[in-house]
């Protein structure tokens, strides 16, 4: 779906978040020449049609005591990957689950999921449960714990949408 210039401007104005003032939609709207009512209506429409997948408080896991996160990846045959992905998506502890292309020989994995936990052991336990329940014990797997966060923030909307993308530990 193509966004209108108005919608793009609105998302751009929101990139650093909703202002913490009593009438935030009036303030956001004023920045792009929209009325408060129009701003609220467009945001509702973008939410209803799925362009905005989530609208609300975005927390940072680490600052809230969830110090460990791992991106876990499997190499699942193309005819089974959708089934496995849907199964993983429904499991507790999983925040994101995507299929991505393999890049052999460097990267043989095509199924990605993100798990956060208070510590490494908790994340490892969740990953073992996921692997077993999704029937992936026989699939090649790698677990990529995060070591350092260099950057985490919302995307810049004027040139791009804020993606709900996979290394997003704080999104």
């Amino acid at each position: 779906m193509e966004l209108t210039a108005e919608d793009r401007a609105l998302l751009a104005a929101l990139e650093d978040g909703l202002p913490l003032v009593p009438r935030p939609y009036a303030e956001i709207g004023a920045a792009v020449g929209l009325s408060e009512r129009r701003t609220r209506e467009r945001l509702a429409a973008l939410r209803d049609n799925g362009v905005i997948s989530r609208f609300g408080v975005v927390v940072r896991h680490r600052e809230l005591g969830y110090r460990a996160n791992a991106m876990t990846v499997w190499d699942v045959s193309d005819d089974r990957v959708d089934e496995a992905g849907r199964a993983i998506a429904a499991m507790p502890g999983v925040t994101l689950c995507y299929r991505r292309p393999r890049r052999r020989p460097d990267w043989p994995y095509n199924l990605f999921c993100m798990v956060h936990g208070r510590n490494r052991a908790a994340v490892e336990q969740t990953i073992e449960q996921i692997t077993r329940k999704a029937g992936l014990d026989g699939s090649a797997r790698a677990i990529l714990f995060s070591r350092r966060r260099f950057k985490q923030r919302g995307a810049r909307y004027d040139r791009a949408p804020a993606p709900d993308d996979a290394v997003a530990t704080g999104e």
Partner: protein, 159 residues
């Protein structure tokens, strides 16, 4: 990197309700913070003050919109194998791109992982090419092909 400053015990019941209960479906009414306050049994001023404090401490990134991937532009997950002695410099160079919004070191031979967003695939490809040229290191481009689960928020447990 932002240091970790808060622990779960520093949040009272209202903080926790704010952090857990409003990650999605934030009110679009003219005074959304007043509506949140009504639901929590407090005042608009209190909700605003708490959100300011939680933002300043880093626990809250923002009250904002997360856009579904590829609904209004293009993004990809990129990976590089960076020699240890160059990691800080290369990570700094990559974080300097405004198109990069997440950038992490991970435990793997491919040790640097970041998300690039742009207007369209060509814009994203330009950024990946610029990074490869500036560093002399191959950049793996791993765009999403199917989303089985988008982030709908994160349930925080305080036990």
């Amino acid at each position: 990197m932002r240091p970790t400053r808060e622990t779960a015990s520093e949040f009272d019941a209202l903080d926790r309700a704010l952090l857990n209960g409003f990650q999605n479906g934030f009110p679009l009414s003219p005074r959304p913070y007043a509506e949140v306050a009504d639901r929590l049994g407090t005042t608009e001023d209190d909700v605003l003050a708490r959100l300011r404090r939680l933002s300043e401490s880093g626990a809250v990134s923002r009250v904002g919109a997360v856009v579904a991937p590829h609904r209004a532009g293009w993004s990809t997950l990129a990976a590089m194998a960076v020699p240890a002695d160059r990691l800080d410099a290369v990570a700094g160079l990559i974080s300097g791109f405004r198109e990069v919004n997440h950038n992490y070191e991970r435990e793997h031979r491919l040790n640097l992982w970041f998300v690039v967003t742009g207007r369209d695939p060509a814009h994203v490809a330009d950024v990946l090419r610029a990074i490869a040229e500036a560093t002399g290191i191959e950049v793996l481009d791993l765009p999403m092909e199917s989303a089985y689960r988008l982030s709908l928020g994160f349930e925080l447990q305080w036990s």
